[in-house]
């Protein structure tokens, strides 16, 4: 076999770049191939369809994002502190991987589920399984319960808030320290006296 001259990662990077700059509608295999400097045939050698390619680049971004949250130690004794640390880690991840963060905003989970089936559908459907355990654990530590309402507030604080804080800075290209500084207080506002 000839060694791969184009890595799969490079193709995913190119797809991400195209999606982020031209939007989901502009993400054609030709545009992606040109961005990557790869012939179209080589893309189909790695991915069975454009839909699979889109799902794969999304899954890669979600996986990294979740891993960064799961790496933060969560102490049940100080749940608010832990939640703030996780939120900051998530925010920092968005800033350090802006293309991943923007990608997650450009393609929706529901949309991908709709164009996907088989094994890949399962993979997309179960993507949140692991992180939801941590969410439930924190909900119990913070509120003494892990029902839907409690878990929803934790998701708001740990996922929605950091992404909301980061997103505009990513699109505009400039990040200021002020937003980051205020994130812990916002997390507390969401989670305190529940």
């Amino acid at each position: 076999m000839t060694r791969q001259v184009f890595s799969t990662e490079a193709i995913l990077d190119a797809a991400r770049e195209v999606i982020v700059t031209r939007g989901a509608r502009g993400a054609t295999v030709e545009a992606i191939a040109r961005q990557a400097g790869v012939p179209v045939g080589s893309i189909y050698h790695r991915f069975s369809s454009i839909d699979e390619l889109l799902a794969r680049v999304w899954l890669r971004a979600v996986g990294r994002s979740q891993r960064c949250s799961l790496e933060v130690p969560v102490a049940a004794k100080r749940p608010l502190r832990s939640a703030q640390a996780v939120a900051l880690a998530m925010y920092d991840h968005c800033i350090s991987e802006p293309l991943d963060a923007l990608l997650l905003d450009a393609l929706s989970h529901a949309e991908l589920l709709a164009i996907t089936d088989g094994e890949l559908y399962e993979e997309l459907a179960s993507v949140n399984a692991e992180i939801e355990k941590m969410i439930a654990r924190l909900a119990r530590a913070l509120f003494g319960r892990a029902d839907r309402a409690a878990r929803d507030l934790v998701v708001l604080a740990l996922v929605d808030l950091p992404h909301g804080f980061a997103h505009r800075q990513l699109s505009s290209g400039r990040a200021t320290p002020a937003r980051r500084e205020r994130l812990p207080a916002a997390v507390a506002a969401v989670l305190e006296d529940g």
Copy 2:
């Protein structure tokens, strides 16, 4: 002339529905025509291209969203209270017009600017002019200055936060009162002691 049997609004509604449910990639004129129960010819009678249609439906959503903010009275004496009121109005607007809110997440301003030109481009480019005045006024009242950093925090509190609070509830379909209750505190966390 025969009276219009299909309103332009109905076509925009159909486009919005398709974009929100199938994503930007699924928004073909045929899909929109079928959703609206309109022949494709009639769509081209109102819009010069699919790109213009997408821009129009986005502009309609942004216009409504901004109008709801601008309707809230802003008292320079109590800037934090005013900011909280505006944020709540924005949040409530997202909940009451979920399809508009989801649409704004599905199509990005930058993406539309890229596929648009002429008069429509100008319209897209200048869409924030009016609301930015209110942002600057609030920044001055809150922080005593209206430089980029100060205005950015106001945008975070008034736009990004309410959308972040609302978004997940819109995709999942269920809204709980808990998120709304915590929004004012989160706004305060972002804007206090600046």
